[in-house]
Symmetry: C2
Subunit: 211 residues, 2 copies
């Protein structure tokens, strides 16, 4: 397998942590999104959508979407299960993963992408043509992330991990969201949220978090 990766973007990191949890290694090629390498003709030949991460299997099959790649690896490397093990835990983890993604990662990405000077004409990621950044959307993103933090803090008062008693893909999405928010999007860590802090110290001390 060959992984097209980008060190600082949140979606490639979600996959790297997922792979580290399962002990999966493969050849890695770095693609610089800020420099526009994901929109180069060489990379678009691999993935016409121009998105990262992208995984190419040994038979040439291209998997072009982060969660789809995670699901493929969950099927081929089931241990440890990161998407749940029965109907209810699978549903619960899917719900929580998507809460983290739509309520947390998406507004974080909007806050970054619509304020970063290099993305003035790349307001939407990938190979979608020019799209002007919308400064109001960056502000809205920050507001939404603040509300997301407060809800997540309440929820983490009820359970050790984002989707219950077990570490799952939902924790990976939440961790990548917070780290991307506090670095790229310049949103302060929610120090007043003690449950998030307890959970963050826990999950970020796993060796996979270095991925």
């Amino acid at each position: 397998m060959k992984l097209y990766d980008q060190q600082f973007a949140p979606n490639p990191r979600r996959l790297r942590i997922f792979m580290a949890e399962k002990g999966i290694e493969c050849e890695v090629v770095q693609v610089n999104i800020v420099a526009g390498e994901n929109l180069s003709s060489d990379f678009l030949e691999v993935n016409p959508r121009g998105r990262l991460p992208t995984l190419v299997l040994d038979d040439g099959t291209v998997l072009d979407e982060s969660l789809a790649i995670c699901r493929y690896l969950e099927e081929t490397h089931p241990d440890p299960a990161l998407f749940g093990s029965d109907a209810l835990s699978k549903a619960r983890i899917e719900a929580r993963q998507r809460h983290m993604e739509f309520d947390g990662l998406l507004p974080t990405a909007e806050a970054f992408r619509n304020s970063y000077p290099g993305f003035k004409k790349r307001g939407v990621g990938g190979n979608v043509g020019e799209i002007d950044a919308i400064p109001e959307l960056a502000e809205r993103g920050k507001t939404m992330v603040d509300r997301f933090f407060h809800r997540l803090d309440e929820e983490l008062g009820e359970s050790r991990y984002v989707a219950g008693d077990d570490f799952s893909v939902a924790d990976i999405t939440a961790l990548c969201t917070i780290d991307f928010a506090t670095t790229a999007a310049r949103i302060p860590f929610p120090d007043q949220c003690s449950n998030i802090k307890r959970w963050y110290d826990d999950v970020s001390s796993r060796s996979s978090a270095k991925a």
Copy 2:
């Protein structure tokens, strides 16, 4: 089971079509989003996020997210499989479902929500507090939907259904996106896209599409 539903919103319809494909019926309660019933204290007691659809199982367990509910039903009613049957088809369908969702349904929803007069202070769905609509985001949504249609038309030139030879949850997301775009978001049907037209006639003639 009891389903909290809304007749005109795209996410509840995705679930209704999914259930119709599997022949699943249950008690249904209508919740009027435009009138704000999803933000009433009665409904927030069921689902604090104020989102639809919401499914309450017979033991009282609440599933509060559309795709998570679909995955639960896929596990408990596996026939016909709508999320794939092996590692590769599951990955392919997940990728295509998410392409339809992020590239199609999300900008369609942005186009509607940020231009509909009743949602001036409800720019983001669910129980997230007041968020001003952003008119520029409605315009961007229309542009993105137009580009989405052109890419989808090319892709449907290569396969009968959105994720390959078999009808799947990716088709359901795409169908609900197009119908919501052409009605609520007032985006014209892409008549010039002959592959979309062929596919649309096919999937919208299934009896599940009436759901």
